[in-house]
């Protein structure tokens, strides 16, 4: 008998029991939808991480002392030989080829106050090159200048979150806020950067000249400087990274390479995206398991349906159906269920994905890979789990099948 004929027969018997066919399909539908949605969400998470990494700026290198290393613990007692200072920053800027900008960075936290409003946020002391490295511009007012850094003026620029919380509808430009009770003039509001890789709000920040931060805010306290550098181009970044490490080591006599952390954006990105890759795999495997359960559901129903239709199978064989015709009929029934389920699952998955994208404001992306994967998988499930019941049907003894009540 022709394949087309068997397909027709299989479809007919599926439509004869629509509810059951649909319920059987449901397992596959949910499984496939879950796989697609999970992969899409995973991809979306990865894209977000990439965007966040890019929001750090282009070709950025972060330099800091590594206080976790063995040697530094020893040295700490002797006065912190691996502490980065402003001369190191200037040396990196002037002595290393391929360095575009450098800026010292002081990271700190503190209470902000404007009139009766209080807000706690990060306070970072930087040089003006920091704006260039990170692509910071002023959306209101202005940024501060090199003269401010040189003179240690009490000025700052604030992130959007800070502006919203301290000022609300008021224009913050040229207002005086108190940072740890020291008055600073707000020169402007920075462009928004969103969340960083760690999920921290990069707009919840105040930038001030590092010199001001050093003397006014951190004066007398223990402080440590980190450094942000941007390389001229992507190709040079690794060479620059190594040169910085060498330079720091030679400037701080007796230190080892482990005592400094010189990390590029890609290092950070790799860590972050490997985390999100793991998450994607994890989510997809959970979804895959539900697909498997859906497949077992198909096998279960097909077995029931073989038992239920023993007489029908007997009649078909009596009027001339070969074993292989019966085998094919049942396999095609199973495959049809799984493929149709797969298609509906894709639609449901796309729907769920776009819903997630809409409400969570994620750029979720459904790849053709995930569609092929789930369709292929559900096809395979149909054949795999349809095979056993189909064999059972085809191997029934004709007379026994006809006599079956």
């Amino acid at each position: 008998m022709s394949l087309l004929g068997i397909i027709k027969i299989a479809l007919k018997s599926l439509t004869r029991n629509k509810t059951r066919t649909f319920l059987t399909m449901l397992g596959i539908i949910i499984g496939v939808a879950a796989v697609i949605a999970m992969l899409a969400i995973g991809q979306g998470a990865k894209k977000i991480v990439e965007d966040q990494v890019n929001s750090m700026g282009t070709n950025v290198i972060m330099v800091s002392s590594n206080f976790m290393s063995q040697q530094s613990n020893v040295r700490q007692a002797q006065g912190g030989g691996n502490l980065i200072n402003i001369d190191d920053v200037n040396a990196v800027n002037s002595e290393i080829d391929g360095v575009l900008y450098t800026s010292p960075v002081y990271n700190s936290w503190g209470q902000l106050k404007y009139e009766n409003k209080n807000w706690r946020s990060g306070i970072t002391g930087v040089g003006v090159d920091y704006f260039l490295i990170r692509g910071i511009t002023a959306v209101e007012g202005d940024l501060f200048y090199n003269s401010d850094v040189e003179n240690g003026t009490k000025v700052c620029v604030i992130g959007k979150t800070v502006a919203d919380n301290l000022f609300g509808d008021i224009d913050p430009v040229d207002k005086i806020i108190r940072i740890r009770n020291i008055p600073f003039t707000v020169k402007g509001v920075m462009n928004s950067k969103g969340e960083n890789v760690m999920g921290m709000d990069q707009d919840d920040i105040v930038l001030a000249p590092y010199s001001t931060v050093e003397t006014r805010l951190l004066g007398g306290r223990w402080r440590f400087m980190t450094m942000m550098v941007s390389a001229e181009s992507k190709d040079r970044i690794q060479v620059v990274q190594q040169d910085i490490l060498n330079l720091l080591q030679s400037r701080h006599r007796g230190t080892t390479s482990e005592e400094f952390m010189v990390r590029t954006q890609t290092d950070v990105a790799e860590t972050a995206s490997s985390v999100s890759d793991t998450m994607t795999v994890l989510l997809a495997s959970i979804a895959g398991i539900s697909l498997l359960v859906g497949g077992i559901g198909i096998m279960n129903i097909m077995l029931v349906s073989v038992t239920e239709r023993i007489k029908e199978i007997g009649i078909r064989m009596a009027v001339g159906a070969h074993k292989r015709d019966v085998l094919m009929q049942f396999i095609i029934e199973a495959v049809t269920i799984s493929i149709l389920g797969g298609i509906l699952g894709i639609l449901l998955g796309l729907g769920a994905t776009s819903l997630v994208g809409k409400y969570m404001q994620w750029s979720v992306t459904v790849t053709s890979f995930s569609i092929f994967l789930s369709v292929g998988f559900s096809c395979a499930i149909g054949i795999f789990f349809g095979w056993y019941p189909a064999r059972k049907a085809a191997n029934l003894d004709l007379i026994d099948a006809l006599r079956y009540e």
Binding site: S2, I315, A318, G320, A321, L398
Partner: protein, 251 residues
């Protein structure tokens, strides 16, 4: 011995193993059947009639003995080959109709054609409609089995059996589930088919029904105990005319 133009069986036995016991359903059947015969097989319950029909119908294989059908040795064919023979040469009518549920009369009749050779949809439809017309059911093609009377269901089953234009027709108690008038109606169809040249072998319990055949074979305990021609078979059509209709009686 005369030449057997359709069926020749030699020493056919069938033994069922029931745990410790052996059931000898057939103990050695030698039969010779010519093309164009109309045979009724009679016998007490359990005498092996159905078993024998299943063998003739290639639904089952004998334990011993040989079976030649149309000049081909069938007894040692594999199940695939038997399926082929069944499909091409044999039409089988079962006592309890065996129609596919939730499948229209027309689709039920088309069923054997689906499993045979390649055939265009149009040809298949034509042949199925033709078979339904032969059994007088042209107006019931779209009905499901549960929307048909017993006699109509049996006629659909007969249409299915003849749709492939088989060499011979087997019917195992085709009237067993029908009232006597409907039974005679079915016999009229068989006689009509016989007149058109079909060989027919049917099993029946009822003496009356056997009188429509032109040869009567009687089984007992798995053996043929009598095999006689019936020189003056009754004519079912005439009997139907003579028979008063039920509603006429009520008037």
């Amino acid at each position: 011995m005369t030449q057997c133009s359709l069926i020749s069986t030699q020493g056919i036995t069938k033994t069922y193993q029931m745990g410790e016991f052996q059931v000898h359903a057939l103990r050695g059947i030698d039969l010779c059947i010519q093309k164009g015969e109309f045979i009724a097989i009679m016998g007490a319950s359990g005498s092996g009639k159905t078993t024998f029909m299943n063998l003739l119908g290639c639904l089952d294989r004998p334990s011993e003995g040989s079976y030649e059908l149309d000049g081909i040795a069938v007894h040692n064919m594999n199940s695939n080959q038997l399926t082929q023979v069944r499909n091409e040469k044999i039409g089988y009518v079962f006592q309890s109709f065996y129609l596919l549920p939730r499948t229209t009369a027309l689709e039920n009749v088309e069923l054997p054609l689906l499993y045979t050779r390649q055939m265009s949809n149009k040809d298949r439809l034509e042949r199925a409609l033709g078979a339904l017309d032969t059994v007088g059911l042209s107006d019931r093609t779209k009905h499901f089995p549960n929307q048909l009377s017993g006699g109509q269901q049996q006629r659909v089953a007969i249409a299915r059996a003849i749709v492939n234009d088989p060499v011979f027709l087997l019917a195992d108690e085709p009237t067993g589930n029908l009232d006597s008038r409907t039974g005679i109606e079915v016999m009229a169809i068989f006689q009509e088919l016989h007149q058109r040249g079909k060989t027919i072998i049917l099993v029946t319990h009822e003496l009356e029904i056997s009188q429509y055949a032109d040869r009567i074979i009687t089984f007992r305990d798995g053996l043929v105990i009598s095999d006689k021609p019936n020189p003056n078979p009754r004519n079912a059509k005439e009997d139907l005319v003579k028979m008063p209709m039920l509603d006429e009686l009520q008037e």
